[in-house]
């Protein structure tokens, strides 16, 4: 089957989107959570089970501890406390562990072993997925049900000192706090003294219920000099002193109160042998967990070894200890030793509460929960528990009662363990199988695209896509069989949950068919290329047409950008990469222009001759890309002197000046919005404009921008859409005035600020009108064959519709971005691309680069927090999901979308018939290259320290960008279809 290269590219990108979605699904496993998690209203606690007899204990049990002190030492590894280092440097803690009233555990942390997710795990008992970060876009605050929120709701007074992550996660939860930043890694004394200095005062005061201390010094020492540094010992001694101080203070206070208090010593994650953390080695995931309280009885000579538990178990234990409901999403189970000393009835009550909570979570997350062994165990133990209660209420304390109680307890503990295990299996792991399949699909598509470059960019812009042959080839069936076998093996043997396996057999089979068909297509394309390569090497003198500087820059720039994605700083500061590349592109264009246009000497004709020579040598290989570019270069080389002659004086000067004008525009835009991380705090024009003091300036700027937009856009519109455009832009200003961003000259006081729904809808009407007129023109040009101009006008109208929509949605201080984008497009089209006759591939790549740069000029970054969600509410009364998502996506990706639609209208007005499909192919290729490389990079960096904070948001951005690219490619194809038909 023969396909146009644009259509082929669009199909490829659509398949690639599927692959990326599969990868994302594997990379971000859906978290286990309770469906009612968003509401924090207290549900009544589960009543005690009772078989027939009426139990009156339906309220939550009272707290076990009056005060809880949590000492969290960052990067505290288990052997720092329980090993030889602990014995040597932490004598008091060792005494507590070995002889004191304490319970010690080794708590296993789940990767990523980084502070923020670990704190979440400790306090919610769930395993935080990345999706959480996406769900609460702008606020880093923890919205999930957690111990701290519950404690606050119960009226407990909480104090936090130490790492400011706590303050960020739980804003307004603490009656007193002092956050220390983890920014200066080389500081490891000050950062801890800032915590300890509060201790004396607070311990004496005693007007609090929960005290959280988070010490960062140990982690910093680890990062700087590793776990075997002598500094570690000194720091551990310091921490030992702190513990002793707290413990003695608690003990002395306990005499006055009835209830005992609890001291928790824990680490958030461990420390690898090199001192870092983030990955999943044993050293990094093993942390000590020590519970100290006078409530824990201990016989002398009772030596216990620390048991292995999960880090998530602490949340349930703390909740029970403070008399709070267990966090809904907690997958941990109660640390039983902590309640061992209580009477049997209370013990069973606590265990029952925990089991009920876990079962509820299981019911909401596992469809076939009834078959789970944990659920059956829960049913059995609940029944037994009921029997026990009846017995207990009937007759008091006896041997039978005690024996039965022990049995029930054992049954509960088993149920808890099973439930907790099956729940935590649901999350926490990268679903590597789905990730691999997704990656394979993406890579196959990319290879296919790369292999078809020579054919797709040939002058015919068509390529032979072997669709039937793979279906009948042996290779296809073999691959399919092998893949199915692998699928069955993986799905039956895997322990963790896997998205592909949970799909129906038909869908999974479809994926397998897709993978094997793509493989066959790649193989056949490869053989074709090889055969052609042989042919070419036979007639040896083939294209040695050299790369121009621009080609080289484009190639190196693309490669360099892709490679830079491996470094977290380059992702954070990706805007710098694009600005740098665009500036260099302008300089390269400048060089190109000056060489062609300044009064040169005799080298010009010689060049022409030279290229012609190369062209003659390569005629047999007409389809080769190099040759086709040589043809275009030939055109340019020979025509430019003549076109130079025809240019008038003014135009010539404009040509010479335009790169500099564009560079200046880019520099202005760059200072409009500071983004990224390192320099984001620097003052920029955007902040200056949006501050309320400069409303007048912003108004003038917005009005001016809208006027310039109209001036630039109207010249090629039809009269009707001209009027619509003018009214629409006026409406944009009215909308901004209505919501109070800008002022009317006659309206001095900003009185009633509304949501501007009427004004926004007014603009929407015109946007739709312009888009409709454009589409109508396009269809007319196709049906009536009215010709070229109607089509060009139609495309331009579509483009201006997009501009109007962007003008409405972008924040008012970003209107200059739109203006300068239009200005640069006009300049480039008129004075650079047209006179220099760049080939389609180059023009496409330049559009792509500028689109990317404008994405960041708008103030976007690779951080999810910079997405402007307010765009989703323009003209809407309430949150309506689909339009809101569409509008937000459009506003975020306005830069790339506008540049792509400009590319369409530019090429259709400009060049030959195959231009659009060439452009579509190039756009698809250059858009899918970074995403494929990034997927591999992210997979290999999945245990990186910054995987959640830097790489994952970028992955989401890349996925979204690919989706936009796919939409653009489909648009290209549609335009191309109308083109060929007409």
């Amino acid at each position: 089957m023969r396909l146009g290269s644009g259509t082929f590219a669009a199909c490829c990108v659509v398949v690639e989107v599927l692959g990326v979605v599969l990868f994302l699904r594997g990379f971000f496993p859906a978290p286990v959570r309770s469906s009612s998690s968003s509401k924090h209203q207290a549900e009544p606690p589960a009543p005690e089970p009772s078989a027939g007899a009426s139990s009156n204990w339906t309220k939550l049990p009272p707290p076990l501890f009056s005060k809880v002190v949590i000492v969290l030492i960052d990067a505290l590894r288990d052997d720092f406390v329980f090993g030889s280092k602990g014995v040597k440097f932490m004598p008091y803690t060792t005494y507590l562990v070995e002889k004191g009233a304490s319970h010690s555990f080794v708590a296993e942390a789940k990767p990523p072993t980084v502070t923020m997710p670990r704190i979440k795990a400790l306090m919610t008992g769930s395993v935080p997925g990345f999706i959480d970060v996406v769900m609460n876009l702008n606020s880093p605050a923890l919205l999930e049900d957690n111990v701290i929120t519950q404690a606050k709701a119960a009226g407990k007074r909480i104090i936090s000192y130490g790492d400011e992550t706590w303050v960020k996660l739980f804003p307004k939860h603490f009656v007193e706090y002092d956050g220390t930043t983890s920014f200066f890694v080389s500081d490891y004394t000050e950062v801890d003294e800032n915590v300890t200095r509060h201790l004396d005062k607070v311990l004496k005061r005693g007007d609090w219920d929960v005290l959280i201390l988070h010490y960062l010094g140990l982690d910093h020492i680890g990062h700087v000099s590793g776990p075997s540094s002598p500094l570690i010992g000194r720091k551990l001694s310091e921490m030992d002193g702190v513990l002793m101080k707290i413990h003695t203070a608690l003990l002395s206070e306990e005499r006055e109160t009835l209830l005992p208090s609890l001291l928790v010593l824990c680490g958030d994650h461990g420390m690898s042998e090199t001192g870092g953390h983030g990955a999943s080695s044993t050293e990094e995931v093993s942390t000590p967990l020590l519970l100290v309280s006078s409530a824990f009885e201990r016989k002398p000579g009772d030596i216990r070894h620390p048991k292995h538990v999960q880090q998530t178990d602490l949340a349930a234990t703390l909740a029970i200890g403070l008399g709070l409901p267990i966090p809904k999403n907690s997958v941990g189970h109660l640390l039983f030793p902590a309640i061992e000393g209580k009477p049997m009835r209370e013990q069973l009550r606590f265990l029952h509460l925990n089991t009920v909570q876990l079962t509820k979570l299981l019911q909401e997350n596992v469809p076939s929960y009834e078959k789970e062994p944990g659920f059956e165990q829960f049913k059995i133990s609940e029944r037994l528990h009921g029997n026990w209660i009846r017995l207990y209420l009937e007759e008091n304390n006896s041997e039978v009662l005690f024996n039965l109680g022990t049995k029930v307890r054992r049954q509960y503990l088993d149920a808890l363990k099973t439930l907790s295990l099956s729940l935590s299996r649901q999350v926490a792991q990268y679903d590597v199988y789905s990730m691999v399949v997704g990656t394979v699909v993406v890579l196959e598509v990319l290879t296919l695209l790369l292999l078809s470059i020579p054919q797709a960019l040939s002058s015919k812009a068509e390529l032979e896509v072997p669709l039937l042959s793979p279906v009948f080839s042996l290779l296809f069936y073999l691959t399919f069989l092998v893949l199915s076998a692998v699928h069955v093996i993986v799905c039956t043997s895997t322990e963790s949950s896997c998205y592909l396996c949970s799909l129906s057999w038909l869908t999974a089979g479809g994926v397998m068919v897709l993978v094997s068909a793509l493989l066959c297509a790649v193989v056949s394309a490869l053989t074709k290329v090889l055969v052609r390569g042989k042919l070419l090497s036979k007639n040896a003198a083939h294209s040695n047409s050299r790369w121009s500087e621009l080609d080289l820059l484009i190639l190196l720039g693309t490669l360099g950008h892709v490679l830079s994605l491996g470094a977290s700083s380059f992702i954070e500061e990706e805007h710098q990469t694009w600005y740098f590349l665009v500036s260099t592109l302008c300089l390269a264009l400048c060089h190109d222009i000056y060489r062609n246009y300044l009064p040169g000497d005799d080298c010009e004709p010689q060049r022409c001759l030279h290229v012609e020579g190369g062209f003659d040598g390569a005629t047999p290989a007409l389809q080769d890309k190099n040759t086709s570019s040589a043809v275009l270069e030939l055109n340019r080389g020979c025509k430019s002197p003549s076109s130079l002659g025809t240019l008038r004086g003014y135009e010539k000067w404009m040509v010479l000046a335009s790169p500099w004008v564009i560079l200046t525009c880019c520099r202005l835009l760059r200072s409009l919005n500071q983004t990224g991380v390192q320099w984001a705090h620097r003052p920029d024009l955007g902040h200056w404009l949006t501050s309320s003091d400069h409303k007048a300036a912003l108004s003038v700027l917005a009005a001016l921008s809208l006027a310039v937009i109209f001036a630039l856009i109207q010249r090629r519109c039809s009269p009707a859409s001209k009027v619509a455009m003018a009214l629409g832009l006026l409406g944009v200003y009215c909308y901004r005035a209505a919501i109070g961003n800008v002022l009317f000259p006659w309206q001095q006081d900003n009185k009633d600020i509304s949501k501007g729904i009427l004004e926004a809808r007014f603009v929407y009407v015109f946007v739709l009108g312009i888009l409709f007129t454009g589409t109508k023109d396009l269809l007319k040009s196709q049906v009536v064959a009215a010709g070229f101009t109607v089509k060009t006008v139609g495309l331009w109208e579509l483009y201006s519709g997009f501009v109007l929509l962007a003008a409405l949605l972008l924040r008012p201080h970003n209107l200059p971005v739109l203006v300068l984008s239009l200005l640069i497009q006009t300049l480039m089209a008129k004075f650079v691309w047209k006179p220099l006759r760049h080939d389609v591939a180059k023009v496409t790549v330049m559009h792509y680069w500028f689109g990317q740069a404008f994405f960041y000029f708008q103030g976007n970054s690779n951080n999810i927090a910079t997405v402007d969600i307010s765009a989703g509410f323009v003209g809407l009364d309430t949150y309506v999901e689909i339009p809101a998502i569409f509008l937000t996506a459009f506003a975020t990706y306005a830069g790339p979308v506008l540049w792509a639609s400009h590319l369409v209208s530019f090429l259709s007005s400009e060049a030959s018939s195959s231009a659009l499909s060439h452009a579509g192919f190039c756009y698809a290729l250059i858009g899918s290259f970074p995403v494929s490389a990034y997927i591999i990079l992210v997979t290999s960096l999945r245990y990186h320290l910054f995987i959640w904070s830097v790489f994952s948001p970028k992955l989401l951005y890349e996925g979204m960008h690919l989706l936009i690219t796919a939409a653009v490619c489909v648009f290209f194809t549609a335009m191309d279809q109308t083109n060929t038909k007409s």
Binding site: Q576, T584, C603, Q606
Partner: protein, 219 residues
């Protein structure tokens, strides 16, 4: 002819490299607390002066384009003044380009300007020495197949490598290593210097290697 030229090229280039090395070590005898990173601006000035001086001396001694043009005093003076003007213009042009590339406009003006001066010394000064204040000749040298001698060829290589060095020098700035040399414009000046030295080093070798293929129009 060619071989002797290449030999002379090698000698002059090694002198240039030597001057840069000297600019690193000599000032520490006279100035206290001198180091490239901490007193970077001083080093930039000294390095520019050294390189300019060596280039001028070499130009006067070697005279690579010994053409028999009229050499009246007034012509020489106007030529010199023109050269100075060109040099200043190139400094300002580079400064503007740096700002357009994103260098701060108001802060660090002196640093940016000194970087522009340094880059001009590496690129414009040799051009002025060799080609004179003649824009057409410059354009010829820097367009494809335009070089007419070994000297111009090496000029092309060193200039381009200085530019590329300065360009690559901007790469480490966004990285979060917190090193003192990541501050603007230190990494770029260092990059330009490395590029220049690499160009000086490579160009004789490259020309020697390709001496069979290289044909110049006038010989």
């Amino acid at each position: 002819m060619k071989d002797t030229d290449i030999k002379r090229l090698l000698y002059t280039h090694s002198l240039c490299i030597f001057s840069i090395i000297l600019s690193i070590f000599i000032p520490s005898f006279f100035l206290e607390n001198f180091s490239i990173l901490e007193t970077h601006l001083t080093w930039l000035c000294i390095c520019s002066v050294f390189v300019t001086a060596v280039n001028l001396v070499l130009y006067l001694v070697v005279k690579p384009n010994a053409s028999s043009k009229r050499s009246s005093l007034s012509f020489k003076v106007t030529r010199f003044v023109k050269c100075c003007v060109y040099f200043l213009m190139s400094c300002f042009t580079f400064h503007v380009i740096f700002v357009l590339y994103g260098a701060p406009l108001i802060e660090l003006v002196l640093e940016t300007f000194l970087f522009a001066v340094t880059l001009s010394t590496f690129t414009t000064v040799p051009c002025l020495c060799l080609l004179g204040p003649n824009i057409k000749a410059w354009l010829r040298v820097f367009s494809r197949n335009g070089v007419t001698s070994v000297w111009e060829n090496s000029l092309q290589i060193t200039t381009i490598s200085s530019f590329v060095g300065a360009w690559l020098g901007a790469f480490p700035i966004p990285l979060d290593w917190e090193r003192p040399w990541q501050v603007w414009p230190i990494s770029c000046t260092l990059g330009a210097t490395f590029g220049y030295v690499a160009g000086l080093f490579i160009s004789p070798l490259w020309i020697y290697w390709n001496r069979k293929q290289l044909t110049y129009k006038n010989n």
